[in-house]
């Protein structure tokens, strides 16, 4: 990917993200969104992020797209640790990567 493309994407994302954040606060003013729209917006992150992450977990690039038991177990462990400790991201990430190393070491 060329440097120009990377910068183009970055600037587009910067402007686009700012406009999303500025949308109601800056442009729409006092008008409220309809309840159904807010209800759908509430679930964007929790729908988009899993959809994004699932192919990376099931068909990881590092194994040439072959499903890998160690990575599947590590993913499950990450979610489990994250749900148990409620928001301490450091422990969740360490737990997930720890489970991966353990799995790679045991399974190979």
């Amino acid at each position: 990917m060329s440097d120009l493309t990377v910068w183009g994407i970055t600037i587009a994302l910067g402007i686009g993200t700012f406009l999303l954040r500025y949308s109601f606060l800056g442009l729409v003013g006092g008008r409220q969104l309809p309840a159904w729209a807010l209800r759908h917006l509430r679930y964007t992150a929790v729908a988009v992020l899993p959809a994004l992450v699932v192919p990376m977990v099931v068909w990881p690039a590092a194994t040439g797209g072959q499903p890998d038991p160690a990575r599947l177990i590590a993913a499950a462990a990450t979610v489990a640790v994250g749900m148990l400790n409620r928001g301490n991201a450091l422990w969740t990430i360490l737990g997930g990567m720890g489970a991966l190393y353990l799995g790679l070491w045991l399974i190979g």
């Binding site: 994407i9 993200t17 606060l25 800056g26 003013g29 990376m56 749900m83 928001g87 991201a89």
Partner: protein, 241 residues
């Protein structure tokens, strides 16, 4: 008094945000590492953390850059990840809509998940506070959180190359995403949204350039919203939404 009070609101926001700084640090460090790993150089990595300041979308963008996805797909995907911020913007408007235009622009630039969540809690606790104090609170919160994002990205980018190849750093991206998702799974509608999105993503995995993301995300959003609507109707039949 009118000048002293927003200052105290500023420091209140700053203080109350400090515990959340710890949740930012690992993501920012990893973003620096992963971005350099994906082939971006130092200015590009820092450019993204400074211009975008939205962790999940940054991870999505550099991951797809490494996979050489088309630029338009990358932009749409990363902005889809950030759609929730339009909701934050709408939710803050009753409290901050009357602030000065430059203040609203600055708040929009620094409107990250943590600052939004803290400010929303504060405005709920004290809805009658004057607007300048509400602005002061948000500025204080952002001052505690956003510079850390940028500085820790730099640290990760500079020292990430010292991580040896055996550490399977490729998997840091999905682990990071999962660490962001897990705390969101706090209610049945959220669980349903995630489950439906995952199912559709697996069914649509044959589509090129991760395009299966879009039907999966839309199905997940609808499933979450619909579950919430039905649960609300079950709990309070007289309130129709």
């Amino acid at each position: 008094m009118s000048t002293a009070v927003p200052r105290s609101a500023f420091w209140q926001g700053f203080r109350e945000s400090l515990p959340y700084v710890l949740t930012i640090v690992p993501f920012a460090l990893l973003f620096g590492v992963v971005s350099m790993e994906a082939g971006l150089d130092l200015p590009q990595t820092m450019g993204m953390s400074i211009l975008v300041i939205a962790g999940a979308s940054q991870f999505a963008a550099v991951q797809m850059m490494a996979e050489h996805a088309p630029a338009l797909i990358i932009i749409i995907t990363a902005l889809a990840v950030n759609l929730r911020m339009a909701m934050y913007s709408a939710a803050l408007t009753p409290d901050l809509g009357k602030a000065k235009i430059w203040q609203r622009a600055v708040i929009s630039y620094v409107m990250v998940d943590q600052c939004y969540a803290l400010a929303a809690q504060e405005y709920q606790r004290r809805p009658a506070r004057p607007v300048p104090e509400k602005v002061g609170y948000f500025f204080g919160s952002a001052t505690a959180i956003c510079p850390i994002w940028i500085v820790m990205t730099l640290v990760g980018a500079l020292f990430g190359q010292a991580i040896p190849a055996g550490f399977a750093i490729d998997f840091a991206v999905p682990v990071t995403f999962l660490a962001m998702i897990a705390p969101m799974l706090r209610s049945l509608p959220h669980l349903v949204a995630a489950f439906v999105a995952i199912t559709v993503a697996l069914l649509c995995a044959w589509m090129p350039h991760n395009a299966g993301l879009f039907p999966a995300a839309i199905a997940g959003m609808i499933a979450g919203a619909e579950t919430e609507r039905r649960m609300a109707r079950l709990q309070a039949p007289e309130i129709r939404r």
